[in-house]
């Protein structure tokens, strides 16, 4: 390892540590629990944005259907919580006590087979990961083996988002339909609606997000990360070098799906319900916007992008309920026009050179040796 690389490595760590300090210390100290819970909700979207950095920024694969995986993760969690909330005592006024209320309204008289595994928390948690991963794997193999990429792939992911949202809304006896799965109360008897639970869930989300970003940084450092970049820029060269491009793409697609699903599960826990409104095309595109605003090459930037857009949304819609959509549009247009590389781009083009200049000035007495090629660690 050369010094330059070491420094890049260190700056990555610094960025992550700064983010963690902001999320785990500064925000909890300065916000009340209602606002902190909102930030926790935004952070659950940040999982998707981080996944998109890997998939889109590194892998060069634009998915406009990440809401699907966010939704699947969220629904798997919600199904467990709903079954726990639907014990025979609290549902005694129903025709069939002991099943979720929306099933009763839809004339179902027993729990569908599909729902049975979700009575158990370990199975539900496994499903949070496995169901989206499996779907992403099947889609990935089907499309990447046929060398579907670029715009065609993006359209396919949109189609999947549309299909899933129609399916969820149409099969309301099994999914809660357009209402979603609402009124979730406890996790193994622990009331997830209390303030203390919101604090614990918030810190869990922050910790998990930190781990996820760290893992993604590790992937970026590894040979795999280099290969992903190479495939993005010169796909044919990688293929001719003997690598199976489709497998790597499937891997990164599954990775992004799993991250989105983790976000979905944390969303359900913090917000207390899951709605099909996340699964459709529009929210999926919104998730891409979060990544674009943050900078699609920066894992940490994606988190800041998500926070900025969502804080903007909440602030504008609370302060200017009649104008907020225009203000949001102005924000997007402004970011894209002025900073095409997102927030991370601002950092790279303005903030870092300034920091470096200051550091060089300080280190003038002890210059850093410049050896080796920084591009190939």
């Amino acid at each position: 390892m050369n010094a330059c690389f070491e420094r890049a490595f260190a700056s990555r760590h610094t960025a992550l540590i700064l983010l963690m300090v902001l999320l785990a210390v500064v925000l909890p100290a300065s916000l009340d629990i209602f606002r902190l819970n909102l930030v926790g909700k935004y952070l659950s979207y940040a999982f998707v944005a981080v996944g998109l950095v890997m998939l889109w920024g590194y892998g060069g694969i634009l998915s406009l259907g990440q809401g699907v995986y966010f939704g699947l993760g969220g629904y798997c969690m919600a199904m467990f919580l709903k079954l726990e909330a639907s014990d025979p005592v609290s549902t005694r006024i129903q025709s069939t006590p002991g099943i979720p209320d929306f099933m009763d309204w839809n004339q179902l008289t027993e729990l569908p087979l599909l729902w049975k595994p979700f009575r158990h928390l370990p199975l539900a948690m496994l499903a949070v990961i496995l169901v989206p991963a499996l779907l992403a794997f099947v889609l990935g193999v089907a499309m990447f083996k046929r060398r579907v990429s670029g715009v065609y792939f993006a359209i396919m992911t949109q189609a999947v988002a549309l299909i899933l949202s129609v399916l969820i809304i149409g099969q309301q006896g099994y999914t809660g339909g357009v209402n979603g799965i609402t009124d979730l109360k406890t996790l193994l008897g622990w009331d997830i609606r209390s303030d203390s639970a919101h604090y614990i869930l918030y810190f869990t989300t922050v910790l998990l997000l930190g781990l996820v970003i760290h893992a993604c940084q590790w992937v970026q450092q590894s040979k795999l990360g280099t290969l992903l970049l190479a495939m993005r820029d010169k796909e044919d060269r990688v293929r001719f070098s003997g690598y199976d491009v489709a497998s790597f793409r499937t891997f990164v697609f599954c990775l992004a799906a799993i991250l989105a699903a983790l976000g979905g599960a944390m969303f359900t826990l913090q917000v207390g319900f899951m709605s099909p409104s996340f699964v459709g095309i529009v929210p999926s595109i919104e998730l891409v916007i979060f990544t674009a605003v943050g900078g699609r090459m920066s894992l940490v930037g994606a988190v800041y992008g998500t926070l900025l857009v969502n804080l903007g949304k909440t602030y504008f819609s609370e302060s200017f309920p009649d104008l907020w959509l225009f203000l949001m549009a102005a924000l997007f247009i402004g970011v894209v026009m002025a900073f095409p590389d997102g927030l991370a781009g601002i950092y790279a083009t303005s903030v870092r050179p300034w920091l470096l200049r200051r550091r060089t000035a300080a280190l003038v007495a002890a210059p850093v040796p410049q050896d080796g090629n920084p591009a190939s660690p």
């Binding site: 209602f34 025709s95 357009v178 319900f273 409104s277 909440t314 609370e318």
Partner: protein
Amino acid sequence: MTSMFAGPPRMSPRRHLLCSFLSALLLASAPALHAETPATAKVNTTGLAVADTEVTVGQLHSATGTMAISETGSIQAEQLAIDQINAAGGVLGRKIKVIKEDGASDWPTFAEKAKKLLVNDHVAAVFGCWTSASRKAVLPIFEKENGMLYYPTFYEGLEQSKNVVYTGQEATQQILWSLDWAKKEKKAKSFFLVGSDYIWPRTSMKIARKHIENFQKGKVVGEEYYPLGNTNFNSLINKIKIAKPDVIFAAVVGGSNVAFYKQLKAAGITADKQMLLTLSVTEDEALGIGGENLAGFFSSMKYFESLDNDNNKKFVTAFKAKYGPKSVIGDVTQAAYLGPWIWKAAVEKAGSFDVDKVAAATPGIEVKIAPEGYVKVHQNHHLWSRARIGMAQADGQFKVVAESPELIEPNPFPKGYQ
């Protein structure tokens, strides 16, 4: 926040003297106002946003997104009621201040904004929601944070909460009497049920089917559901032509409505050959569908703009004066107008803004100035109201052709219809 509203600050004797002098002045200048204004500490023991001259409430509807077209009428009617209440001196001597939030036709956003209104703004009441999905999203929050929601839309029932007052009809109020009317007056024996595919039409049609089959001994010759937003009804129209029902009983909503009635007309199914009774077309929808595509069909509602009584004439005049002569008033708009009035009456009956006391005082509240005529709040927080059948006119208005003689009891959990 709590301490701000918990009670009057302790005063030094001199300041106390000054205060009594000032209040004496006030008493002299506005004796009536002072007499009606009880101390804030007394009427607000739970830290709501109630000050000496002002009480804050929330308004939570979709001002943007696909539901905006439906919810705008409710926003306007609630604002009108609040303006009128303020002009008449407010509630317990306090003017109503409104914090408006946009649910943006997105259910998680409704949940976020509901929580903001209750936890952050401590509003004394919230007027809002429209779709069942938005209500289901906010209900746990209102129950957990102990807020008060006034919900205006006719809906599927199967719900009852201390924290919600339902100012629209639950399903049985809208359905049973109108089916009986169709049987008695129109000799209808066979029905074709059609609806959009979500909880309200599903539940409504379940109740309709049980009533037709078990109580009327009639026949249901078809039951079809279409996804929200569906615009192709040709296969349905063929099925209707084959089944030849006496009545098409419809609960199609939103944009689908426009396609549904236009395609019916194009297929030659018009009022002179086929009776149609709908649960989902008010003056607002008629505006989009076009009166010429609806003329002669029947709609079951509790309110029509054309209702001929003094309350309604005043209401329509005031509404059009504020929002323009071309604005129309549908069933839900009128129900939304009742919300602030019911809240005011309950607060004054309870002598307090505290949610528990308001909720307890709500049953038995009467609204004598209701445009739909006299209504009363039931023990279950729904309204006793009449059912009415309106016949659509080419100008998009409805002519009231029948009206239930009695107020119909709300029954959100009907026995024998589950």
